[in-house]
Amino acid sequence: MPDLSNLNHFLGGAIAAGYSVAALFFLKFYFRTKDRLFVLFCAALLILGSTRVAMVLVNEPTENHFIYWLRLLAYLIILGAIIDKNRPQSTVHAVE
């Protein structure tokens, strides 16, 4: 039986690295298209990544912690980005 705590930390680290790479892509998309959705997604992914880092640094296995609020914050940012996208306003597309 492998050491499960190490396994979970390993997976969490890989996930955090993945989030960071995706966040960088979204940041680049934001500079390319000036679309607010991308910078909000970038922020949400970075926050999710930070929760993974926090889970390693804080040895408590319970979720009644600020980690849990950070996760909720990230998802609320995603929801906010979707709502913001659907607000009635003239959308700006990047014109070549």
Binding site: K85, N86, Q89, E96
Partner: protein, 165 residues
């Protein structure tokens, strides 16, 4: 508009002179904010709109396509097209290559490009596009530049519940 004698080989049809804006009935009055989209190009046929959003990404490219489509038997080299339209030759070649990749043009052995659409139903589409471009240039322009310009923007647009295509 090319000044002087155009190359006899190309026989480029002169576009209509641009009419003053006031004579266009569909120019929206100031104060019509985002209605522009529907007024300008919302009533163009759906298959034309999807064709343009998939194949045509700039006015220059459209003009090149219409040039070739007007004379389907002729092949035109990128250098000649660049000369007539005052484009850099690389740009003309780039437009030709991208249209070849989507199946609108074919590359002939002599290095020139010919209008040879991969699907036969595109021929009447391009003809109607030419007609619309002659008579409703603003609508076509708006159609070209208001669609999703690339995959990235369409990723963001996917999150709009109400899509205006």
């Amino acid at each position: 508009m090319p000044r002087g004698q155009p190359d006899a080989l190309l026989n480029f049809p002169q576009p209509q002179p641009v009419q003053p804006l006031s004579s266009f009935p569909w120019v929206p009055s100031p104060g019509q904010a985002d209605h522009n989209g529907e007024v300008m190009s919302g009533d163009l046929p759906a298959d034309l709109r999807s064709f343009v959003s998939e194949h045509i990404h700039s006015i220059a490219q459209l003009e090149l396509l219409l040039l070739l489509a007007g004379e389907p038997a002729k092949t035109v080299s990128a250098e000649d097209a660049a000369r007539v339209f005052y484009l850099p030759p690389d740009a003309a070649r780039g437009f030709f290559e991208s249209m070849r990749a989507t199946g609108l043009l074919s590359l002939e052995p002599d290095g020139g490009y010919r209008f040879a659409p991969r699907h036969a139903e595109w021929v009447p589409l391009v003809n109607s596009l030419a007609g619309f471009y002659r008579e409703r240039r603003l609508s076509i322009t708006h159609l070209i530049y208001s669609g999703p310009t690339d995959k990235v923007q369409s990723f963001a647009d996917a999150f709009r519940l109400k899509k205006d295509k």
